[in-house]
Every structure is written in structure tokens, then in C-alpha cells.
Point group: C2
Chain length 369, copies 2
């Protein structure tokens, strides 16, 4: 099981430590997304290098390929992919509701078809837990019922009530030592969010996620919902904002007391040629970088910035070279993990607000060279 302790708070921001049987995680933390048993383009050794402490695995994807029974036979996901540190797995729900062809959702769960070959499949709370346990997850997520925003209050309320019932069944279904997080739903309604949080707290989980955000709502609505949600959650449990990953979103959420994040942005953008630098995003395909000898970010300690020029990275990108995706991904994850490390240090030092303000000011200043 896991335990969570706080080393410091600064306003509502928190610096904590999540202890797991596979090692400890210093929060606030960003979790790189390892969809199919690999954080795309990188080895576990490189994840270590950039300071990753915990990664996310996608239950839906691994269920389809290679199947959790294969992963289990090979010794579980950690051994299968050679990552010995903690892994959080999602429930598969988000992909069922977004990626697969959804046929029907009822009280039992979701009936859907694989996005790969159309196979008819079923995912209910018990199945979501069984798959995550077969994978050997350190932190499992409850299956939640998602509705796309905007939605009316009645649908949102129905979905959150079902999410609560499914959460209770997930907890009931757990057989392993893996930790289990509940997911607060309720769209952007403070009233519904409060109801969801209260119901989940009554069941009791090892940690709590804020779900159903970063799905297209205006940023301000997300910030307000996070601000309304976080104080409802227990101080002594980790709080995880699912899927939010723009630097500004993470820094705002950290300021509201969120501890954990995951997002495909740094890795997906890397593959598409967008690099995050301390002075903003850089699109490496631009002709202005054709002969630019500077590294992507002169202040970045990553291998990419130490050894390669923008000109070389532009060339690799234009030529469609695999090394382009590797070097860009390595850099972007270093940026994200440096950002949360900086946030943690600032919280410990009691100057988080200034840190976040300065970071965003510089990030929004644009590349001046």
C-alpha cells in the first residue's frame, strides 16, 4: 500500500512524499504517459535520467495489446517494460468513452468495440480492477462514467452517482495490495463536485483524482473547478488532476493544492516537433532554425540540449528521423520534470507564488534569440 505525507505547504500548494512499495515519489509530480508499456521513444534508463519518478500506463491499450494475461505471465508491467519504479494505471474508462466505438453504457459497465479491430468487449468496475491488478499496478484508478461537456445537470448528476456506485464496486473488487484512487466528477458545477467528493470520501480511497476536466472546457472553468474541488479532499491523501498538462494549467493547479499530473502533451508535442523551453514553445520545423547553432534551451541540462543544435534537430525533424522523436521527447520530459521540481523547491522555500509567476512570465515572453 501507499502512504502520503506533507513536508510543507505554501498557501494551498503542497510539497509531499508518496511512499510506495516500489519507491517514493516527491510531489508535486508529473507522470509521463507510457500508453503501451513504453513512454513513446524512450527507454526506462532515459526516464530515470530526466528525473521521472512514476509513470502512467493505459489499461485500455494494454488490455487490447498485448493483453494483461501476457503482461502478467511475463512478470507484470514493471518487469515487462523494465521500469522498476511506481506505475499508476488509469481505469481504461477514458479511452472507452473517447477512442473506442461505444455501444452501450449501463449500470454493469461499458459495452464497446476495439478501435483496432472492432472486437466486442466489456469493461465494468470489476473488470477494470482485475486488469489493473493483472498488470501489477501500484496505483489503480476507479472506473468512472464520463459525459462530454457541456452537459446538462441531470446527466452530470446521473453520471456522478453512477461513478460513486462504480467506485464502491471497484473498492469491493480489489484483491491486491495496489492502492486505489477515487475520481471526483460533476463537470464544472461546484455543487455536483461537492456531492461527488463527499460520496467518495465516505467510501474512502488511498487518493483522489479530479476527473472530467481538460476535455475542452474554457481554462477559467477548469481553474475554478480545481479551486473548488481541492479543498474538499483530505489533506493527508494525494490529489491528482487527470490529463491537464499545459505548464500554466499545472502551475495554477499546484497553487490550489494538486499533487499529481499526467498528460500526453510533452511527449506528443515532441514527436510533432514542438519543444518546451523556459522561454516558451519552439517549433523546430521553422526555417529560422536552419543554421541555428544554439541548443533548444541553453538553461536545460538534458542530453539533447548538451549535445545538439536547433539546426541539427530541425534537420532530423524534416528528414523524419526516429532520433528526432527521441531527442525531442527527452528534452520535453526534462522540461516538465524540472518544472515540478522547481515548484516543489519553491513550496519548501515558501515562495511558490513568486516562482509560478516568474516561470509563466518567462515562459510567455517568447524566444528572443
Amino acid at each position: 500500500m501507499i502512504s502520503f505525507s506533507l513536508q510543507a505547504t505554501d498557501g494551498r500548494a503542497r510539497a509531499g512524499t508518496l511512499e510506495t512499495p516500489r519507491g517514493s515519489v516527491q510531489t508535486p509530480i508529473f507522470m509521463p504517459v507510457g500508453t503501451l508499456g513504453t513512454v513513446k521513444a524512450l527507454t526506462p534508463g532515459e526516464l530515470d535520467q530526466v528525473g521521472a519518478q512514476i509513470i502512467l500506463g493505459n489499461t485500455y491499450h494494454l488490455h487490447l495489446r498485448p493483453g494483461e494475461e501476457v503482461v502478467q505471465k511475463l512478470g507484470g508491467l514493471h518487469r515487462f517494460m523494465n521500469w522498476p519504479r511506481p506505475i499508476l494505471t488509469d481505469s481504461g474508462g477514458f479511452q472507452v468513452f473517447s477512442l473506442a466505438e461505444l455501444n452501450r453504457v449501463d449500470e454493469k459497465g461499458a459495452h464497446f468495440q476495439s478501435h483496432l479491430d472492432g472486437t466486442r468487449l466489456f469493461l465494468g468496475p470489476e473488470e477494470a480492477i482485475a486488469i489493473q491488478e493483472a498488470l501489477g499496478s501500484d496505483i489503480m484508478m476507479c472506473l468512472d462514467h464520463l459525459v462530454s461537456l457541456p452537459a446538462n445537470e441531470v446527466d452530470l448528476a446521473d453520471a456522478l452517482e453512477r461513478t460513486t456506485r462504480w467506485a464502491a464496486r471497484c473498492k469491493q473488487a480489489r484483491r491486491s495490495e495496489g492502492a486505489l484512487f477515487g475520481i471526483v466528477q460533476g463537470g464544472t458545477s461546484p455543487r455536483l463536485r461537492q456531492r461527488s467528493a463527499e460520496q467518495l470520501l465516505e467510501i474512502g480511497f488511498d487518493g483522489y483524482a479530479i476527473g472530467g476536466l481538460s476535455v475542452g472546457e474554457p481554462p477559467q472553468a477548469m481553474y475554478e473547478t480545481v479551486a473548488a474541488c481541492a479543498p474538499l479532499l483530505p489533506a493527508d491523501a494525494p490529489r491528482y488532476l487527470m490529463g491537464a498538462g499545459e505548464p500554466v494549467d499545472m502551475l495554477r493547479a499546484i497553487g490550489e493544492g494538486v499533487d499529481m499530473f499526467d498528460c500526453v502533451l510533452p511527449t506528443r508535442n515532441a514527436r510533432n516537433g514542438t519543444l518546451y523551453t523556459r522561454r516558451g514553445k519552439l517549433s523546430i520545423k521553422q526555417a529560422r532554425y536552419r543554421e541555428d547553432p544554439a541548443p533548444p534551451d541553453a538553461d536545460c541540462p538534458c542530453e539533447t540540449c548538451r549535445h545538439y543544435s536547433r539546426a541539427y534537430l530541425r534537420h532530423l525533424y524534416q528528414a523524419g528521423e526516429i532520433l528526432s522523436m527521441r531527442l525531442n521527447t527527452l528534452h520535453n520530459l526534462q522540461f516538465y520534470l524540472d518544472m515540478v521540481r522547481g515548484a516543489r523547491q519553491a513550496i519548501l522555500a515558501g515562495n511558490y507564488d513568486a516562482f509560478a509567476r516568474d516561470f509563466l512570465e518567462r515562459f510567455n515572453s517568447g524566444l528572443d534569440d
Copy 2:
């Protein structure tokens, strides 16, 4: 400039050392192909890890993208791609004759169109040297006139005479400290090969390549041509068999006194899911590997074989993950470099024939597990 010395001979096989301003190369050696300023999927650090001592760069490809003037402005190819050890560049001729749309070849050189965008371009001997010098090549190749096999003796003779005239112009055009290799042509005719070798020797080069082979002729014809060619070349200069890369071809050629090899096979096959093991080739996509916990090759010291199972590698391949191409390429290059290291040790120990026989017997025995 370079120098070449022999440490041992065993029959016609040779163990030598090629000294270059960027470090020494122990021969026989395999040169991984770094077409576009990167050995596809790997970093220079990983090339070091598997024992690469010299790599090949493709003049044609780099001329088109990013252009040698960009590479030169960024400090030359070594610095551009962060590979400090020796680089041999081809002349671009092979790609002009095979990949580009060839419009006309005359005494001046080849008029062709880029395979990327149809731009009309020209490559003559002087241009081939100028581009290689701008790239900062340690070993440059003369531009040769290629004819596809089978060809009649008249065409072959014309091509080799032109190759000789172009080789003289290449030597004349050289301005840098880079070494320059001549390329013996003449198809599979011992008489023409002899004429070509004699003409090139008269001009005098730092090393000699056997070109125009491994282009679809029967293996026996290649072996016989290599056997006829190698003894015509000076004992104190390196001999390079261009483009031949099946293990059996390399081991036979080493037995005839060849020192250097390049081939896309290990890297291209890696990306297509074919792994070279001491017991033969392994197609990782096969269903039999679905739950196989063994590494690709239990006797291989590479990172892939130390940390990953066939089951995981099959999964990565099936899922189209970038890590699949990385781990497979790393392994295949380790296999190739271990093979030439083994050949060198056997030559030094005076048992090369037994080594080559045992290696091929095991390689042809097939995977028994």
C-alpha cells in the same frame, strides 16, 4: 591523413589498424550506415556502446538535406551529429544511379533529379569531392560510373575506364586532409577487375574499395570476384567491400583479405523486426514469441538482450512503437560488431577458418528454443 598497418595475417585474412586523425579503427570492421547524419534510431552514445568505431555518411542524402553548406556552417558532420570518431562518406554516385531519376551521364558527370522534389542537380567528380570535404569526411570515396549487372563487356569496360578518369579527377580535386579511396569496377570479369585495379594503383590512393558488387549477382559470382580482386590490391592499404552485409558474405570476404564493410541490412532489418542472433535470424513478429520470456540472444551482451524479452519486443513491434526500432537496431549492430571483433581475434589467434566455419554453422543451425 590515414595510415594502415597489419597486426596479423591468417591465410589471406588480415587483422589491421587504420589510424586516422579522429582515432584508430581495428579491422576487420563493419561501418554502420548513418545516411542522414544519424544511424537510424540510435544516438552516438549507443553506437559507442555497441563498439562502432567508424560510421558511413551518405553524400547524396546529405547534399539534398540539409545541404553540405549547412553542415559545414555547423562545424562539419562530426560536430553536427555529435559523433567524434571517424566518418567515411560515399561519393553519392550509388544513390544517383539507383535512387534519383537519372537524366544523363556524360564525361563531366551525372545529371539527375532529386528523388525528393525533382530538383535538377549535377554530380561530377569535383562536386563529389567538394561535398565530402564540406562535410568534413575522414575518408572520401571517388565518384564511380556504375552499370547495372548483367552488362556486356563493352559497357563494363567503358564504365571502368570512365571510373578511372573520374578517380584521377577526384584526386586532383582534393584540397583537404581527408583520405581518398579508389573504387575497383569491372563487374564479375576478372580481366576487367584487373585492368581497373592496375589503373587505380597507378594513380595511387589511400585505400581501395571493391565496388559494383552485392547488386543482385549470384553470391558465388561475388565471392569469386572478391577473391580475384583482393590480391590485386596493395597489402599495406585498407580494402573495403562496398555494400555487402550478410554475415556469410562478410566472413567469406574477410577470408579473402577484405578489411572494411558497410551495409544497411542490420539497421534496416531491425526496423522491419528481423533480429540477428548467433543461431540465425529471428522474425520478432511471429506469434511463437508472444509469451517468450527469453532475450533475443542469450549470448549477446547488448542492452536489449540484458533487459528485454522476445515477448516485449514482439509487443513493441506489433504496436509500431519507436522503442521497437531502437532496441532492435541496438541489438543488430551489437551482433555485427561482435562478429567482426570475433573475426579479428581469430585472425590474431591464427584460427580464422575455424572461427568462420563455426560461426556460420551455428548461424545456419536455426533457433532451437
